[in-house]
């Protein structure tokens, strides 16, 4: 089951260490495969904190999540949680 979810990064400092840490922890627990893709098509696996940070996603940029989870519901829940980590962290 692959799900795509796109949202705008609103945290003033962009995608930073704290949400990245939360994403890695959550994705690891979920067993799903998650890839982040920015508007330039640059990708990073959500299993790697370094790769996500190296994307240098800034505030205002859009970010696409490509989620391969066991079912739709799990995928959507993951997408929502990741967006919340990034924008409400």
């Amino acid at each position: 089951m692959t799900i795509n979810h796109t949202f705008t990064v609103m945290d003033p400092v962009g995608l930073h260490a704290r949400p990245v840490g939360q994403i890695v922890t959550l994705v690891r627990e979920s067993g799903a495969t998650v890839t982040l893709r920015n508007s330039d098509g640059k990708e990073a696996s959500a299993a790697s904190a370094l790769k996500m940070l190296a994307m240098k996603v800034k505030s205002g940029e859009s970010l696409e999540l490509v989620i391969d989870a066991q079912d739709d519901a799990a995928g959507h829940a993951l997408a929502e949680a990741i967006e919340a980590f990034v924008n409400e962290g």
């Binding site: 003033p12 260490a17 704290r18 840490g21 904190a49 370094l50 940070l53 190296a54 240098k56």
Partner: protein
């Protein structure tokens, strides 16, 4: 017995006595070393060391506050990332030992992140954790653990979240060689109600175990000092009903406005409008802006309201204004400089403010941040008049604008000094820089005399000057400002009562005397001490 006394910048008001606990990291953990093991043996040493150390740190931080734990966890996840171990491999193949390869991989990654300030601020912490990993591999204590028994004053160059997260009940105070009033250490100590003296030169010369007094009110650390030697927090007894000059509140939005209305603040001296835009993903419509402003103006405490137009920059980005990357955001396109590229947005903000003023009938002045030339002021004045705003002012934040004040006659009807930025620009000292806290001390004679200069030039223009920087929240400084001829101060809602009480307890003559003393001092310590002595 000789007593040493160190001076710095105090955080908190309660003093503490305890034994010095030096948090020092042995240089041996950072040394570059080579290994006789094979690269693959060394790679497995690295993997085990990271795993073991991370587990240890997670255990230790299990009881610290959730935010600190999240950040620490993020740092550990970066170190545990297999990608990092991949980056370390080439160095292992060259014969480096595991810690050396780890440090080099971190350096390489930090270089890759280059301009990312948020990440740069974490590099010291990452190296701190890497030092513990190195200590584990090399059998060196990377930093002794703070004993749970006893009463300790932690002494260090500066503290990282990793270190502060390990503070238990045995830690009663903190002294750091570096850091300023707004540095990480100061913020954490305030949150933990731990007395601290930061930016204390010579802190690392204190001896392990010696008894010291941490005296934040006196901005000093005294070896062998007793609690009874501590400088008493000043208490002011009001002599009149009203403060000597108007005390207003600084607000960022509706919540602050409502909070401020419950204090004795007479109006708002600084409404930071950017707060409304920082989290908006698209430009709000005129109607949406008007609605937000009406809400805030209605809720704000009775009295005059001074609104600052949007003060964003590449370090304080607004999602819908594309600001791009800047090498040096503090010296970049920020404040009113944005109006050049985003003129339409600036016009729409002013139109919204004018409509909200009309709708609420409040007495409102609007001011521009970060202006440094007469042309900029003329352009702001023209934009305001076009929108129908009549009370136009500016922030005094750049040294340059002070010198052209005589040329602003008829263009501005009030001035407001932002002492935080004015300090940063007068001293060419980054407000957040850990080693430059002392230059951003608001008692610096260079700052106080600049404030006085602004007041004198404003008297020639016959317009009032307010101070809305954090310095005004210091009751003693608010008295000094009143004595200089400042006509209003604006402070965080939480500081309104303390400042109002201090300003109600002095006469005009006393305030003038305090300002004369402060202006005559040649060092910040002397300025603060002489003024304090008047009221202590």
């Amino acid at each position: 017995m000789s007593t040493t006394e160190l001076t710095g910048i105090g955080v908190g008001s309660q003093a503490a006595v305890g034994n010095v606990f030096l948090l020092e990291t042995s240089d041996a953990v950072y040394e570059h070393r080579s290994t006789k093991h094979t690269p693959s043996e060394e790679a497995s040493v690295l993997a085990t060391a990271i795993m073991t150390t991370a587990a240890g740190i997670r255990d230790e931080s299990a009881t610290s506050d959730p935010t600190a734990r999240d950040i620490l966890n993020a740092l550990l996840i970066i170190l545990e990332d297999p990608e990092l171990q991949e980056m370390a491999k080439p160095y292992l193949l060259e014969g480096d030992d595991a810690p050396t390869a780890l440090f080099k991989a971190l350096d390489e990654f930090a270089e890759l992140m280059g301009d990312d300030e948020e990440f740069l601020s974490r590099v010291a912490d990452l190296r701190g954790i890497a030092a513990r990993i190195s200590g584990w591999v090399r059998g060196i204590a990377a930093g002794p653990s703070i004993p749970q028994e006893g009463t300790w004053i932690i002494v260090a160059d500066d503290l990282t979240p990793l270190e502060t997260s390990q503070f238990g009940d045995s830690v009663v105070g903190v002294v750091t060689e570096l850091g300023g009033p707004t540095s990480h250490t100061a913020i954490i100590c305030r949150a933990l109600s731990l007395p601290a003296v930061v930016s204390a030169k010579g802190a690392m010369t204190l001896t392990q175990g010696e008894a010291v007094l941490v005296d934040p009110e006196g901005n000093r650390v005294v070896s062998g000092g007793a609690l009874s030697d501590a400088t008493q927090a000043l208490t002011f007894i009001p002599q009149s009903d009203a403060p000597l000059i108007t005390v207003r509140a600084n607000i960022g939005g509706l919540e602050d406005a409502t909070h401020a209305a419950k204090t004795s603040a007479r109006g708002v001296g600084l409404f930071r409008t950017e707060v409304l835009y920082l989290s908006a993903s698209r430009e709000p419509t005129l109607e949406e802006q008007v609605a937000s402003y009406v809400e805030v103006l209605k809720a704000a405490p009775a009295g005059k309201i001074i609104i600052r137009t949007i003060d964003a920059g590449s370090d304080k980005p607004v999602p819908f204004l594309a600001l791009g990357h800047e090498e040096n955001p503090a010296l970049g396109v920020r404040g009113f400089r944005l109006a050049h590229d985003f003129g339409d947005f600036q016009k729409s903000q002013l139109a919204a403010l004018a409509a909200a003023i009309d709708a609420t009938g409040r007495d409102v002045g609007v001011m521009a941040p970060m202006v440094s030339t007469v042309e900029e002021v003329k352009s702001f004045h023209a934009l305001c008049h076009e929108a129908g705003i009549t009370q136009v002012g500016i922030m005094i934040e750049t040294p340059a604008i002070i010198h052209v004040l005589p040329d602003l006659k008829g263009l501005v009807s009030f001035l407001s000094i932002g002492t935080n930025d004015l300090s940063q620009y007068l001293f060419a000292a980054d407000r957040m820089h850990p080693q430059l806290g002392a230059l951003n001390n608001p008692w610096q004679p260079g700052l106080l005399r600049s404030v006085k200069q602004v007041v004198e030039k404003a008297q020639d223009l016959d317009i009032p000057v307010g101070v809305c920087g954090e310095s005004a929240a210091n009751p003693l400084l608010s008295i000094v400002f009143a004595g200089m001829g400042i006509s209003s101060v604006s402070v965080a809602p939480s500081a309104v009562e303390a400042v109002s009480t201090a300003l109600a307890s002095v006469s005009q003559k006393q305030a003038q005397q305090a300002s004369v003393l402060a202006l005559a001092a040649s060092t910040p310590a002397e300025a603060e001490a002489t003024v304090r002595a008047m009221f202590g």
